[in-house]
Structures are given as structure tokens and as C-alpha cells.
């Protein structure tokens, strides 16, 4: 029946009965639209793939090319009907969810942190550039950037000796003093065959010129120091491609690839050359979590608080929500009004609410201290900060448990409660022995889901306390209210050393934890479904 969609049949509609005409017209228009959309999208994607390839982003380019292929195959042939529905979702999910997850997994196996961010090739270039030493007297010259015979060159002015020369990476050409024109500082700005760079050219020249070693005398060359000055230097570290080593030309010592993303001195492994590169270290980021006390101790502290925070949040929000649900479980006067007021904290955008609470906890001017006549420094004391975090989360979360508890209370069969009452149970006994156990059974998957959500409640911590307070001593970055996810964020994007490898490893551990909690609760809810 789907033959209607194949282009060959499009122009011979006679074999289809009149009843199908509406479908046919829709089919025809749909087909046209489909072809237009698919070709337009493909055109854009091919264009992007090409420019990605030109920028040497091969993985992205390949992904885009495969996308085009998948789109064409799916929508222009009849290869698979489910794929017609799935392809857009799959592509988005792959590009922005699965791709990043795989990338995170990869990063967790690398020594990938501040100082080891670039690739090995780039690192070698950088080490070479940095492995120079100024001549003992610290000679420096005023220079002008330009070209000489089409090559990158500098016009050097030795102002004290009134000598001038043009230097490229291969040659040095002295220029007579009467062949140059000087500016008001005595710096030569023109010379025969030398074309000075315009301001516009200067902006783009930074990268290429700073890498060139301009000829001077013997082993010494001129290295640029900004655009206006050059320093007489010599290369100290030389790269030996054959043995993949760096050699110190002055004292002859050798630096070898230490397998962890740095060149280290053969005799003293702790002496490494900067910068390093991102190198595979396999499971070291994971083992470091257990073996390195500087990583382990803050992590354990943060983990304990994370669990405590999530547990306390679930307990307090559930208790308050349930109390409300019980109180409003009867059609008392004003119940609708109460209800619409009580859901307000849940209806407010949480980002706004958290920021508002942040202001209320302000020590000097905040409403909380004004209300109670206290002067507590809420966010400077670890315990007060923790209380504040729990309190704000209680405000944000209790309406959720109020709503679902009151729904579930109605689901408990009234015969059960009546029977208990007839048997002489008092209301408290009924609640403890019947209502609560039943409720917990119904709500346990949601309680677990809420635990998992709060386990990763990044916004609350980040916006309210920023994880603080923390002691500034010994460079510790974990604060008293930091939960695992905010701590991981700090490790990856913090102000000090950014360790993407370690952060990725911790991320994956959190993922395993949360996924097992969620799968457990899901399984449990499935069980409940089949019995209920």
C-alpha cells in the first residue's frame, strides 16, 4: 500500500480507486514537501561537513556526512519504516547526548588537565618555543614586522650602535644607515626591499611571526617579544625526532616521554617540561580516587554530605507534604484556596526562587535575620549553610509530595480504614499500621526518584551557596555544601587547576550510582504496576 510514496507511481494515479484520492493528494504534496525538505537539509549539512573537513574536524565532518546519508536513505527509499520516525530523534540524541557521553568516557582515560590540554604535536612545538634562553647580557632590539622578498622578516634597529639589519629565518642582511628612514624614536621603519606590515596585517600576524626564529649571530637568534621588540636568544632544548626526546644543548641532559603526557628528565622524573599534552593514562583517574588522599578525602566528605542532603530533602519534603495531604484530605472550608497557594512554590521557576532565597539569607539585610532579630552569617558557617540549603529545598519540594500524597491517599480503599475503625483502632493506629505502610508502598518509586534527582540537584547548590563555605587553606576546592555534581563541576571548570580527566571519571561514577538507583526504582514500580 505504501507504493503510493514511490516516485514511479506518483505520475500514474489511475490504478488507485477514487476512495483513496484524498490520501493520494496528501501523499503527492507530502512527497514534494519531503523531497524539498530532505534536499535542503542535506545541502546545508553537506556544506557544514565540507567546512568542518577544511577545519580538520574530521569526526564532526564524518558525522555530518553520515547524517546526510542516513537522511537520504531513510526518507527517499523504503529501507525501514520505524527509522522514518526515529531518525531526527536519533541524530539529535547522538550528536548532543550520546556523543558527549562517549567523549566523557574517553576523557576519563586521559591525563587531561590544565597544562595537559593540547595534543602532543602542539606540545612539542610549544616546548621548543619555550626552550630558549636569552643571551647572558640580555640584548634586545627594537623591531618592525614585515616581509622581505615575500618572506616573513623583521627590520631590526640597534639604536645604541646605529646599526640596522633585516632578518628572516634563513638570512641576515645588514642595511646601511643612510638606506633606512627612522621614526621619532630612532627606529628604522623602511629599508630597501622591506615591506612593513600594515595594522590590519599585524592583527593576524601574531601566530606565525611568534614561531619564527630570526637569524642573528651563530647559535643566537632573535625571538619576538610582542610586536615591537626582539630578544637575542638561543635554543636550549632541541627536539630529537628519531628518539622522541628533548636534549638540553647546554648541559646535555635528556628529557623523555614519561608516558603520562610530559617530557621528563631521565635522571629526575619530577622535572618535567611544560606544557604537556593529553595522554592516555587508562584507569589512573579512577585509581587516583581511591589511592590519592588529596582526591579521596574531599570526595568522601562531599559524598557523605550528598547522601545526607538527598535523604534529608526527601524526608523533610515528604513529611511536610504528607502532613498537608492528611490535613487537607477532608473537604474542609477553603481547601481549594489552600491548594492553589500551596502549589505556588512548585509553580515558580526554581532558578528565580533560589535566587530570591539567596537574598533572604543575606546576613546584613536579609529578611530571615530581620524577621528573627538574629545576625547569623548563614553562608559563612558550614552548619548554617547546610540548614539553609535543606530549608530552601523543603520550600521548593514539599508541594510535589503534597500533590502526589493527596492523590495516593484517595487511592487507598476506604473499606480498609473503616474495617480498622470498627475493630476499635484509633486514628493514630490506623495511620501507623495501615495508611502509612500502604502509602510508602505506592510512593516508594517516587521517593527514590526524588532522591536521585536531589542527588544531582546542581542548580540549588550552585545558585544558593556556590558550594561554600570552604576553607581557603591548602587550595581545597570542596565546600561544606558542595554535592558531588557541583564539586565535579568545580574540578572541571573551577578557577584553579581544571582537571577534565578526573572530573569525567567522577562523572561516570555518579552516573553508575544514579542509574542503579533509578533502575532499581523503575523495576520496583513495574512490579507495583503488575500487582496494582
Amino acid at each position: 500500500m505504501r507504493a503510493r510514496y514511490s516516485p514511479a507511481l506518483l505520475f500514474s494515479p489511475t490504478e488507485l480507486g477514487p476512495v483513496r484520492m484524498t490520501y493520494l493528494i496528501r501523499g503527492k504534496i507530502a512527497l514534494l514537501l519531503k523531497i524539498i525538505i530532505v534536499s535542503l537539509t542535506s545541502a546545508i549539512l553537506i556544506m557544514l561537513a565540507q567546512s568542518a573537513f577544511a577545519q580538520r574536524e574530521y569526526v564532526i565532518s564524518a558525522f555530518l556526512a553520515l547524517t546526510v546519508l542516513a537522511l537520504a536513505l531513510t526518507y527517499l527509499t523504503k529501507i525501514s519504516i520505524p527509522l522514518k520516525f526515529f531518525i531526527p530523534g536519533i541524530l539529535l540524541l547522538t550528536a548532543f547526548v550520546i556523543g558527549p557521553i562517549l567523549y566523557t568516557v574517553t576523557m576519563s582515560g586521559f591525563n587531561y588537565k590544565t597544562g595537559n590540554i593540547i595534543s602532543k604535536e602542539e606540545a612539542i612545538v610549544q616546548v621548543k618555543i619555550r626552550g630558549i634562553e636569552a643571551d647572558p647580557s640580555g640584548t634586545s632590539f627594537d623591531i618592525k614586522l614585515g616581509t622581505y622578498d615575500g618572506e616573513e622578516a623583521i627590520l631590526v634597529s640597534d639604536i645604541t650602535n646605529l646599526k640596522y639589519f633585516i632578518s628572516t629565518k634563513d638570512s641576515r642582511t645588514p642595511v646601511a644607515a643612510n638606506d633606512v628612514t627612522l621614526n621619532e624614536y630612532g627606529v628604522a621603519i623602511t629599508a630597501p626591499n622591506f615591506r612593513i606590515l600594515t595594522d590590519a596585517q599585524m592583527a593576524g600576524a601574531d601566530k606565525s611571526y611568534s614561531k619564527v626564529q630570526f637569524q642573528y649571530e651563530g647559535e643566537y637568534f632573535i625571538a619576538l617579544e610582542g610586536f615591537e621588540a626582539g630578544i637575542v636568544s638561543r635554543q636550549v632544548l632541541e627536539y630529537l625526532p628519531a628518539s622522541d626526546e628533548f636534549k638540553n644543548l647546554v648541559n646535555g641532559s635528556l628529557y623523555r616521554d614519561n608516558g603520562r603526557g610530559n617530557y621528563a628528565l631521565v635522571d629526575d622524573k619530577s622535572a618535567i617540561l611544560e606544557p604537556g599534552w593529553r595522554a592516555p593514562i587508562w584507569f589512573e583517574n579512577y585509581s587516583k580516587i581511591i589511592t590519592d588522599p588529596r582526591v579521596r578525602e574531599p570526595l568522601v566528605r562531599v559524598f557523605i554530605w550528598t547522601v545526607a542532603f538527598a535523604l534529608l530533602t526527601v524526608l523533610t519534603t515528604f513529611a511536610l507534604g504528607l502532613l498537608l495531604a492528611l490535613a487537607l484530605n477532608r473537604p474542609i472550608f477553603g481547601r481549594r484556596t489552600y491548594r492553589s497557594i500551596l502549589v505556588l512554590p512548585y509553580a515558580m521557576p526554581s532558578v528565580m526562587s533560589i535566587l530570591i532565597w539567596g537574598g533572604m539569607f543575606n546576613t546584613e539585610f536579609g529578611a530571615i535575620n530581620t524577621l528573627f532579630g538574629s545576625d547569623i552569617a548563614w553562608f559563612s558557617d558550614p552548619n548554617f549553610a547546610r540548614v539553609a540549603v535543606i530549608l530552601v529545598n523543603l520550600w521548593l519540594g514539599f508541594p510535589y509530595f503534597y500533590l502526589i500524597s493527596s492523590g495516593s491517599l484517595q487511592a487507598i480503599p476506604s473499606e480498609l480504614l473503616e474495617a480498622a475503625a470498627i475493630d476499635g483502632a484509633n486514628p493514630r493506629q490506623i495511620f501507623r499500621k495501615i495508611t502509612l505502610p500502604l502509602l510508602l508502598q505506592i510512593l516508594s518509586p517516587l521517593l527514590i526518584a526524588s532522591f536521585a534527582f536531589n542527588f544531582n540537584n546542581f542548580n540549588l547548590i550552585y545558585l544558593l551557596t556556590g558550594g561554600g563555605p570552604r576553607s581557603e587553606l591548602d587550595g581545597e576546592i570542596a565546600g561544606a555544601t558542595d554535592i558531588l555534581i557541583s564539586y565535579t563541576y568545580k574540578i572541571a571548570f573551577g578557577t584553579g587547576t581544571q582537571d577534565l580527566g578526573l572530573a569525567s571519571a567522577i562523572s561516570l561514577i555518579i552516573f553508575v550510582l544514579v542509574a542503579s538507583i533509578s533502575l532499581y526504582s523503575l523495576r520496583k514500580s513495574k512490579v507495583l504496576e503488575t500487582f496494582g
Binding site: 577545519q55 540524541l93 547526548v97 557521553i101 521557576p349 526554581s350 510535589y400 526524588s450 545558585l463 561516570l508
Partner: protein, 283 residues
């Protein structure tokens, strides 16, 4: 009559005290937004004057492009709401109604992927979009279009999952009837399923609107320009630490930004609650 009153009084006491707790911060923001001083310090909990100074500042001050922020939030959240539901509902329909090999594994994979906390993949998303920027500056890091793409990808997992639950609850008789009448799967989707599920799709898209509106950390990382920020990022950066000085305009701005969300939420309450019990938690 009197006995009844005593009997129910504890209910009222609890309800009223928790209502006060719920309203306290909201009341404070409202009165500070109408205070002329604009500072965090309250002179009294009962307002003595009503001034629109903070609101005027919001719309006229060149240092707070509030309207641009609101516009960005509405455009981004609106686009995510519409597109993610169109794309997500197609996948949900296929998961729910079509039989194919690997269906179960697909659902499981989706579930697993969805459990990966988005914030943890942020560094990878950042690096990827930085690279995209190098060859396509209009959809890379720092652009609203790039942020939209990332949101769409992130919304897929949750939305497909949520929509699948809804699709499962729509009786299959109608599309089976359509199938017998000779409709293809694609036609069944567009002509039978979409009209039938329109209210549900609207609800899910409004939910993703709220979710996107509330998203903070990706937007913070992506949108650096003052003019291209969303309301959440704009207001956070505006108040960032400077509570005492910028409180008044912030209060006014957060009230205006919250009103539409609160209205959407209250009008959808019924559906949201049933969605909640289906196992999703509002972010």
C-alpha cells in the same frame, strides 16, 4: 456546629501555617519590587508606599537589557517546546505502536542515556560546540542557535519517555482501523495520531517550555553576550553577589518572568500531577 469547627481546626492551623511558609518569600519579593529604595534591606514587612521605580528601571535602563533577555528566553524555550515535541512524538509513536527488531533494546538504551546527568556531559558539549564554532560560527558556542540544538538533543530522552507513556494510554483501536483501511504508518501518524493526541502534545510541549525556561547552567556557559542571555542567566548575573544593591530591579524582573510560567503551570496542574506520578520529576 461548634464541635465540627474544633474537629477541623488542626487542619486549618496546619494549612494556614504552611501557606504562610509558602507565601513568605513571594510576599517579600512582591513588596520589595514595589519599594522605591530598591535595596535588600526591609524597613518594614508592611509596605508603606507603592512605587514603580524598579519596573521602570527594568525597561529603561541601558545596563539591563531585560526585554532582550525575555525575548531570548521566549524564543529559545518556544522553539524547543515545539520542535522537541514534533521530533519526540514521532519516536514515541514508533516505540509505542510499531513492531521492529531492537525495540526493547532501544527503549532500554534511551532510559539509560536519559539517566546520564546532563551537567556531567557539559564539558564534552562545550568542547564539541567550541569546535563547531571554528567552522560554523553561527551555530557554535556562544550562539542562541547552538544552545537550541543542544537543548533539543537533551530534551529528546525525557520527551520521548514522557510521550511514550501518553501514547501508550491512547487506545490503539483507531490506528488499527486506519491500518485496515489501508493507511500507511506515516499517514496514521499524521492523520490519526497527531490530531488525537493534540492536547497531550500541547501539555508536553508546555512542560518542556517550562523546563527550558528554567535551564540555567548550559545557558550560562553558552551565552556570554549581555544581549543574548536568557532571563534566568541575565538576572542571575545581574544580582550575582550584589544582592544589596540590585535587589529591587531583580525582584521586579523575577516576578514578571515568573508570572507566565506560574499561569501555565496552574492551568496544567491536572496533567502535570498525573505526569508526576508517572515518574517524571520537574527540574
Amino acid at each position: 456546629m461548634k464541635k465540627w469547627l474544633i474537629h477541623d481546626s488542626w487542619r486549618h492551623i496546619i494549612a494556614i501555617s504552611i501557606c504562610l511558609f509558602a507565601l513568605f518569600p513571594l510576599y517579600l519579593v512582591v513588596i520589595s519590587s514595589f519599594a522605591s529604595s530598591g535595596s535588600l534591606q526591609l524597613t518594614s514587612f508592611i509596605p508603606r508606599e507603592i512605587s514603580f521605580k524598579n519596573y521602570e528601571l527594568l525597561f529603561n535602563s541601558p545596563t539591563i537589557p531585560y526585554l532582550a533577555w525575555v525575548k531570548n528566553s521566549l524564543i529559545i524555550a518556544g522553539a524547543v517546546a515545539v520542535l522537541s515535541v514534533i521530533i519526540g512524538s514521532a519516536s514515541a509513536f514508533a516505540f509505542s505502536r510499531l513492531k521492529f527488531k531492537g525495540r526493547k533494546q532501544g527503549i532500554q538504551l534511551l532510559l539509560l542515556v536519559q539517566m546520564f546527568p546532563a551537567i556531567l556531559a557539559i564539558s564534552a558539549v562545550y568542547v564539541i560546540m567550541e569546535r563547531v564554532y571554528s567552522f560554523a560560527p553561527s551555530i557554535g558556542l556562544g550562539t542562541r542557535a547552538g544552545l537550541l540544538l543542544v537543548y533539543l538533543g537533551g530534551a529528546m530522552g525525557v520527551n520521548i519517555w514522557l510521550l511514550k507513556g501518553f501514547v501508550d494510554s491512547i487506545p490503539a483501536e483507531l490506528d488499527e482501523a486506519a491500518k485496515i483501511d489501508g493507511a500507511s504508518e506515516v499517514q496514521t501518524f499524521w492523520l490519526i495520531f497527531v490530531p488525537l493526541a493534540a492536547p497531550v502534545l500541547a501539555v508536553v510541549s508546555l512542560l518542556s517550555f517550562i523546563g527550558t525556561f528554567n535551564e540555567f547552567i548550559l545557558a550560562r556557559l553558552f551565552l556570554v553576550d549581555m544581549e543574548s542571555r536568557t532571563v534566568a542567566v541575565g538576572l542571575q548575573q545581574f544580582i550575582g553577589g550584589q544582592y544589596s544593591q540590585n535587589w529591587g530591579p531583580f525582584a521586579a524582573g523575577s516576578i514578571l518572568a515568573s508570572i507566565p510560567i506560574v499561569i501555565i503551570f496552574l492551568s496544567l496542574q491536572k496533567y502535570i500531577v498525573s505526569g508526576l506520578t508517572a515518574g517524571s520529576v520537574k527540574g
